[in-house]
């Protein structure tokens, strides 16, 4: 099992075509059986290549990250490796027992208790009753469900459900573990716990294939990374190199997508519109509209307004929120001691930041114009999205401009 040189997963010229079969050309009962069901040549109506000529070898004991945009074939590849789907062409060989975390708690029955579901789910994942009994306490302990294990799972919170699903799936002790995006769900402490368990599995020399959109997690966990794009393997190798190339490629696409979202949202807006915010743009140092910024980069938030009648002494404000709702910053012209005597007709107000020192992540932007006594003219709440990108793996909310000094 620890033979070196033998890949744990060997994928050779793998292609997968999805088809919808049509009943055209089948007119008799005999045709139905000969051509329709048992025949090898079925009449395909629409075809679509989910994967094309993918060749990849994962050495034993390594962790490989699979990245790529939605619909690039990551999940298809995972299902082909598990054997849930069959390849259209090419081959896959997997060395050892395989377990897939594709959906936690798949096969749980809501009416049954946690205990019954552990046995049932474990059996589905290929464990014998004796194996499950041996590991039962460990499973329940990991899931932190000692008190609830005899309650029906329909009474569980979604977090409890996930914990139990994860606990059963990793109890299989596979040689090859496939993980599909599951760490994106659950609360923070559960995610940490899962990551720790995955680290343990790594340390035991198991092979892991890890699918995620969370590039920083991929970079932290994986020894190598493969990037899929529209069903083909664009690049595979060192995590840093592949992720950089991937980011450079998706930036342009993401910018477009984020801006489309900005244009499309029209909800969460209130106010009398005596002064109306007609547009909000985020600009970089060169005055170009952007939706993704590097941490620390200068940013201008430009608020365009229109006031049909003269309005005295308006206050313009902005708020920056992390996508989980945490307010990172908020201010307005009043707080900052800036007075706009009046507005009339069209114009713009700019919030100019010399450096946006937020950490990498997705953010939402509020813009508002109101009277000094907070009578609302126009509030745009969480209507604008932007992302901050950073190569540095620091943690928290913001990065104060700083340096380290060694004073010996």
């Amino acid at each position: 099992m620890t033979e070196t040189g033998v890949p744990a997963i060997q994928i050779q010229d793998l292609s997968k075509q999805y088809r919808r079969y049509s009943m055209a050309g089948i007119s008799t009962i005999k045709d139905l059986f000969v051509k329709g069901f048992l025949g090898r040549e079925r009449v395909a109506r629409d075809t679509f290549w989910a994967l094309r000529n993918v060749t990849l070898a994962v050495p034993e004991g390594r962790t490989i990250g699979l990245i790529g945009p939605n619909g690039s074939g990551k999940s298809t590849l995972l299902k082909l490796i598990t054997g849930i789907l069959k390849p259209t062409a090419g081959s896959i060989s997997v060395n050892g027992r395989i377990s897939a975390l594709i959906e936690l708690g798949a096969g749980f029955h809501p009416e049954f208790t946690g205990r019954e579901n552990v046995y049932l789910n474990g059996a589905m994942l290929g464990m014998s009753k004796a194996e499950i009994s041996d590991r039962f306490d460990e499973i329940v302990g990991f899931a932190e469900l000692e008190e609830f294990i005899d309650a029906p799972v329909k009474t569980y919170s979604s977090g409890m459900y996930m914990r139990l699903g994860f606990a059963v799936a990793v109890a299989v002790e596979p040689d090859v573990l496939l993980v599909d995006e599951i760490l994106a769900v659950g609360d923070e402490s559960f995610q940490h716990k899962c990551l720790r368990r995955i680290n343990e599995i790594q340390n035991r020399g198991r092979t892991i294939l890890f699918v995620s959109h969370d590039l920083s997690k991929v970079e932290k966990l994986c020894h190598m990374v493969a990037w899929l794009d529209h069903g083909t393997l664009r690049m595979a190798g060192e995590p840093q190199a592949v992720i950089d190339a991937y980011l450079a490629d998706v930036d342009r696409a993401d910018e477009r997508a984020l801006r489309a979202v900005n244009k499309a949202t029209e909800h969460q807006r209130w106010g009398t519109r005596e002064v109306e915010i007609t547009g909000v743009r985020m600009l970089d140092a060169r005055g170009e509209e952007r939706a993704i910024f590097d941490s620390g980069e200068p940013v201008v938030i430009e608020i365009a307004y229109r006031a049909d009648r003269r309005v005295e002494d308006p206050v313009f404000g902005i708020g920056l929120f992390r996508s989980d709702g945490l307010q990172c910053y908020g201010s307005n012209t009043d707080i900052d001691g800036v007075t706009l005597p009046y507005v009339e007709g069209e114009g713009t107000v700019r919030f100019v930041a010399d450096g946006l020192d937020l950490l990498a992540g997705e953010y939402l932007l509020d813009c508002a114009v109101h009277r000094r006594d907070h009578h609302p003219y126009d509030y745009h709440v969480r209507l604008y999205r932007f992302a901050v990108r950073s190569e540095i793996k620091d943690s928290g909310v913001f990065r104060p401009a700083h340096r380290w000094e060694d004073r010996r």
């Binding site: 999805y18 069901f37 096969g107 049954f112 046995y119 290929g126």
Partner: protein, 262 residues
Amino acid sequence: MASGVPATLREIIRFRDLVTALVVRELKMRYRGSVLGFVWSFLNPLLLMLVYALVFSFFSRHQIENYTVFVLTGLLPWLWFSLGLSHSVGSIVSGGPLIKKIVFPVEILPLVAVLSNLANYLLSLPILLLFYLVGGVTLTAWALFLPVLVVVQFVFMTGLCLILASINVYLKDVEQVLGNVLTLTFFLTPILYPASLIPDRFRVLLYVNPLAPLFEAYRNILFEGRAPAWEGLAGLGLLSLVVLAAGFFTLNRLRDAFAEEV
């Protein structure tokens, strides 16, 4: 992936704990939430028997001694047969969410439907025994032959179920047609009446219906306490093996695309 009957059987054996767990789940599920719970698995066939006994003692001129016991003897294995088929035909389709996410031998799903209904049949045997005692029908040593009949019916049903459940993935019409075919088969098979009651010009029905010798045999060994008609039974035994092989063949041919189709 390895196909062929031996490999398939090995897979099923490897997952035997899953089969057991699913059968137990099936049995628990069926009556969970009803007040009488498991009693229903006895009560249902009894009520059905009562209906047929009533109807037939009104309309049939033929007077069969101990008719209720007579009917019950055939009705119980029939319920196993018909419920087993109806439950398994859609089992692969309704197991779709599992098939897409977990790798396990799909044949387990129809098999579980056959087995859980077999369990119901076996559990209802004590009731049958009770009726025999009350009705004054004495069992002979031929009753010990029952396991053989159960095995034959099991093999035959499993084969049929594999074929129907596989095809139903592509052609949902199978599920719709099955109910009607079962009703027709019920009346064409000597369950409510003895084979001897069939007029000569319709006797051909007995020979083309593979279930006829089986249900005759159930009554022969239990109700009448004598040897079954060997030729018919041997024929069915052979046919069962053929059907089972056909079942695995159909399933293995179609299984590769199940995860995409369900």
